[in-house]
Amino acid sequence: MWRRISIVLNKEVIDNARDRRSLLMALIYPLMGPLLLALMIYAIDKVVVTGGADNSLTLHIQGAEHAPELINWLSAHGHTVIPAPADAEAAVRDGDIEVAIVIPATFEDMFVAETTAPISVLVNTSRLTGLITINRVGSILSSFNTEIWGQRIARKGVAFRSLQPLDVNHVNVSSGTHIADILLIMVPPLFIFNLFMGGTYLAIDTTSGERERGSLEPLLINPIERWELVGGKFLAALFYTAIAVLVQLLALKGAFSLGGGENLSFNRTLSWQAIFNIMVLTLPLMMAAVSVQFIIATMTRSFKEAQTYLGLLPLVPAIPGMLLVYAPVKAEAWMMSIPTFSQTLLLGEVLRGDPLPMLHVALSMATTLALAMVLLFIATRLYEREELIFGS
């Protein structure tokens, strides 16, 4: 029995390893989600986390020579001043630089005369990434303003401090942890989607594809039980699904460490142990996914029809995870009896580094495994029908 199953498994694995489309599904598609996530982590890290931290800015200033006092003050506060491009307006509009400061020639005389001196800050509010810089430039200039104003009023004998009841300090304590949490919620739906996608091509190719090629009938004439044939093909599709899942987990690990860097708390959350745990935890779901793919691919009349249905299939099980993005729930035992939902919840716990309750794991694996067995039984029965060779 195992010998015949392994012959079929062996053939299907080799056959599909030579197929660009199967490999695409198993090796390239799983990278898409993590890649997107890495970009988001990187962007959020740059814009929100480090963007708000109290470090130095590089300021593009036109006419710096008219305001030596301001320039000295900026340098003394750790900011770098470089000349703005000749057409500062265009540079800001095109996004070459985020903010430009323009100091007119009249500035110096008016500043020395202690009247109100004009200064322009060129901004482009339609560019999101510039918003934080705009904010900071405004606050830097207003600090300078307050300081000069304080000096001038102090010379007139008024205690500056008494006129400033508040000394407001903005301290950005973001370490990215919270953002990491938000992004982590997006991982389970991506994961479930990929899990239902990974073996699709092989499932179609070995059922309706085999029928369309006309290689099914000769195969069925061999002295092998139908369930052994299904078993071999099922294991081959399961193998490709597991590869797709593993590739995605490795890519996620890469995305977390590359995109997140030291700032974010992702690094700890996807350890090798966690990857192993997720693989074991979701194996029953992989089996159920492959069984559903076989049922659909066996019942449909053609390769194209099967492809259409199976292209939509991964969306359905990913829905609970997508809803959880908006309304997170606390995992409870009864939820563990719902396949795909239980994996979504448990996956979230693994990613957050929470301990996994053994009862939950056992319930989730047992119920999903039972479902997988029922589906596999149905798939085998469908394969035993004599209509199989005609595809109706």
Binding site: G214, E217, I221
Partner: protein, 242 residues
């Protein structure tokens, strides 16, 4: 030996086989002929056990095709109507896959493959992937994988359809040599000249029933015709399949 008794098969309202009886003996080439839709392919499919009959029985070397499916399938080699290949496997891998499913392996299997490649003239493309194979090359691979386990009974559905003269003749030689080894060949074809040349006995099937059975001279005598095409027309009342 293949024994078919009172075989019946219907698909919903359509009766494909309405009780057919015939025997394909060892050491003979038995031709199964008839117009399109007469039930030839259905009869073959029941014999090679991918379909179950509604009534009657099929025995291959004494084994029941419904109850002892695997035993029957071990004893037959089939070139079915559908004979597609896996485009990403080489010719050799096709033959090896089927050989292994028949429980063969190791040196024995490799030797048999070498022998078949030699007999069928496959050396030139045996290690090429099947994508882009010509009709003749595809047919040879399909034949080789049907023959690799040296089955005692051979079922061939239109084995030379679309082949050039040279390839057709080599298939004919192969069929005769298998018959001369005392094995049983059941042969379906629409080419009456081919049937007349290589079949020892002929079973004519029409509308799901046996219309006639006998040697070519016997059928000619019974119908008063002097060639097999006219015999066919006289027996089936159809211009099709001639």
């Amino acid at each position: 030996m293949i024994e078919v008794k009172a075989l019946k098969k219907s698909f919903r309202a359509i009766t494909a086989l309405d009780g057919i009886d015939f025997v394909a003996r060892d050491g003979q080439v038995t031709g199964l002929i008839g117009p399109n839709g007469a039930g030839k392919t259905t009869a073959l499919r029941i014999i090679y056990s991918v379909m179950r009959p509604n009534g009657g029985s099929v025995h291959v070397d004494g084994y029941d095709a419904t109850r002892e499916r695997r035993r029957v399938q071990q004893r037959i080699g089939v070139l079915p109507d559908g004979r597609g290949l896996y485009p990403r496997l080489t010719a050799r891998e096709h033959i090896r896959y089927f050989g292994r499913l028949h429980g063969l392996g190791g040196n024995d299997l490799e030797q048999r493959m070498g022998h078949l490649a030699d007999v069928l003239g496959m050396e030139e493309f045996i290690d090429r992937r099947a994508k882009g194979f010509s009709k003749g090359q595809t047919r040879k691979v399909a034949l080789a994988r049907a023959l690799v386990h040296e089955p005692h009974n051979l079922l061939l559905d239109e084995p030379t359809n679309g082949l050039d003269i040279d390839s057709s003749r080599s298939v004919h030689r192969l069929i005769r040599s298998i018959r001369d080894q005392g094995r049983c060949v059941l042969f379906c074809s629409h080419i009456m000249s081919e049937v007349a040349r290589i079949c020892d006995r002929i079973v004519v099937i029409a509308h799901g029933r046996i219309a006639a059975e006998g040697t070519v001279p016997e059928l000619m005598a019974a119908t008063g015709q002097d060639n097999l095409e006219d015999v066919m027309l006289a027996l089936t009342g159809s211009k099709e399949g001639a």
